[in-house]
Amino acid sequence: MTVDEENRTNVQDLGKSGEGSASAGPVIDRRVLIQGAGATVAAATVLSRTTPLMAQAGNQPVKIGFIEDYSGNLSVYGLQKLHAAQLAVKEINEGKTLKGGPVGAGGLGAVGQFAAKPPVISKDGTSLAVVSDGGAKAKSDVVFAEDPDVLIDSGEKGILGREAQLLSPDGQSNNALWQQLARRLIQQDKVDVLVAGFASAEREAIRPIVDQAKQLYFYTNQYEGGVADANTFCTGPVCEQQVIPGVQYMVEKFGPRGYTIAADYNFGQLTAAWTRAFAPLVGGQIIGEEFIPLSVSEFSTVIARIQQAKPDWVMTLLVGQNHHNYYPQAAAAGLKFPMVSTVNMAQGYEHKRFPPPSLAGMHNAIQYQMEVPTERNRAFVKRWMAMFPNDQYIGEMAQNTYFTMHLYAKAVRMAGTTDQQTVKKALESGWNIEAPEGTVFLEPGTHHCAHYIRLAVCDENHNVSFVREWPMIQAWWLQRLGVNLVRNPEYKQYTPDEDPFFSMFVKGKNKKI
């Protein structure tokens, strides 16, 4: 009894100190910055010197440059991302922020902050037991309480007392226009941060401009991985976080033989290469693959080839409106192979757009989609739908954009300035941010994020369930290659060809295994 009571008061204390640190977030953050990371001595001097300047510039808004496609072929994704940015900026200006802060390397440890009750030794003393979420004693349990919501007060309206302003021109799904817009935002508008990019082609189109200006740049998309750029922070998941869990599950559940159909450009080619390289490691093999030009919209031949190959499962990496027609056409042709993907369903919400059972049997190791069954996500969806009642779906990259905006605001508060080089250093302090998906950890050396990955499955009626969870998967491939952007700034994209690892497991490239 006494133990329990003590326990409870401890919890309350914990709760109080938690709240205290949250509301006084910026102050503590600065202290950590000054004391902790050695590199930030310079930042601290900048901070003290620029304080009078900041007071003068107090009325100037913090300019957030934001390019996405609100029209054209990719507008289905771009409009979601725009709304995510607008929601985040509104919350920032209303004095809200997401939980989290620079906790240094250690990532998941931060979750402990939110444990409802700490573990205790049971009174009989014979065995170690923990008090579970519900209060009952158990031999083992997850010491983890779900936050009802992760949105808390930031202690100020806007960022450093300045209003956050979103400059969001339309990229129109046109790479040439993207370059013009990036130049305009960087050179004329002199944005404090640039958040932009859906397709990998768009990112690669503007990255040289970003690097020339040393512009702080966030790429919020799920993508093929490999970007090692000192100015770029990639907050979406990459191949190693999605392909391996997905393929592993398919091999376990349905059998070893997979067949890949992929969009014929860098994203599809590279993700297919990952699949090909990793299937053998989990006991599978890719018995055939086909790359489909983005203009193809009629799939009878592709379907016949899959029927001929009779795989155990199909990896679909289909991008854009034309390719989405594969699903209803395959369903109408009676194709019933289980499918796995890293993009479909979570981004273009094909399971909402096409009538059942087009997407039946689709698996995707996602990091976020609207159905994620947690209380904090339901709260996020509710806030979103209150602002945009007519929206049909909140996809993976919309959520990334949302937490990225809050992450930027927090990093600026820690740096005490919007000076881009200082904010970049602040971002390299091992950030943990509590996003709707779960805890996200921004790894300083590679500028990539560790994510909470869930395996989503779509049933015959297009209901989504989550059958397996990986609370944190690192984006480890760049680390494997020895990339450390803090020590050695680089400005390139690595491809699997540059890693002997891949050819080691796939004997003879492009050979059907």
């Binding site: 409009l79 009538p355 087009s358």
Partner: protein
Amino acid sequence: MDVLGLIVSVLYQFATNAAFLLLAAIGLIVILGMMNIINLAHGELMMMGAYTATIAFHRGIPFPIAVVLSFIVVALFGALLERLVVRRFYGRELGALVVTWGVSLIMGQGTLILFGPFMPAISIPAGSFALGLYSFSVYWIVLIALAVLIILALWWIYQRTPFGLMARATMQNPAMARALGVNTDRIYMATFALGAGLAGASGALFAPTTSIAPLMGQQFVAPAFITVVVGGAANVLAGAVGSSLLLSAVKTPVGLILGAFLGTVALLLTALIVIRLMPDGISARLQAIAERRVRR
């Protein structure tokens, strides 16, 4: 059983590919083939048909009636478009090209603003049947039959009805047709409306197989133009049928053996070679052969 399945599968794919080209081109056959208007809004007219059918279908109207409805709606829109815009550009091919492109932009972005990036699709009617390893969609077989029927109906209208006679006269020699008492203005409008309506109906027929989105029409534009241009203008209907059969006969085996990418390459290469060897299209060659026979 597997051999039978394979043979049926190859035939099915051949017919599906040909029907896809033919249905995509069907509105353009009338507008480009007969009126010589390079209609870049063709895809958007198909999109409008698909939207009309989808909206009607979700209001509880049976799908076949929804298809007829979209023919009527898009035909009326086509008539309006011809009255207000297109008629000012007869005889000015490049002007027509630019103005229809503008119309297509307005229609595409207008739809995005009005209806958002996507609409819930229609499920593909009818089921599938299996033969050996392979299974086939019943709906695509219906589409193949409908493509044949629509071509026959068009042929009948243009070769066997008074309207067809007047229309052909108007296209060949408008001044003479007018002198003989044909109201060429009305013929132009009716022909454009018919072409638009057919584009709308084919868009509606494709609606269950595709995502319903503002730019969905773009996927049909290139195949449609390739089919009509390869077919040529000497006899548009025969040309379009010939070119879609030829292109499918190349694309199907290449696609099946070497994959969709090389299948598309083979289709484009064939189009290139045909246009190089027969600048007036397949129909001109067919006509020349037919004439030679008659002379003999």
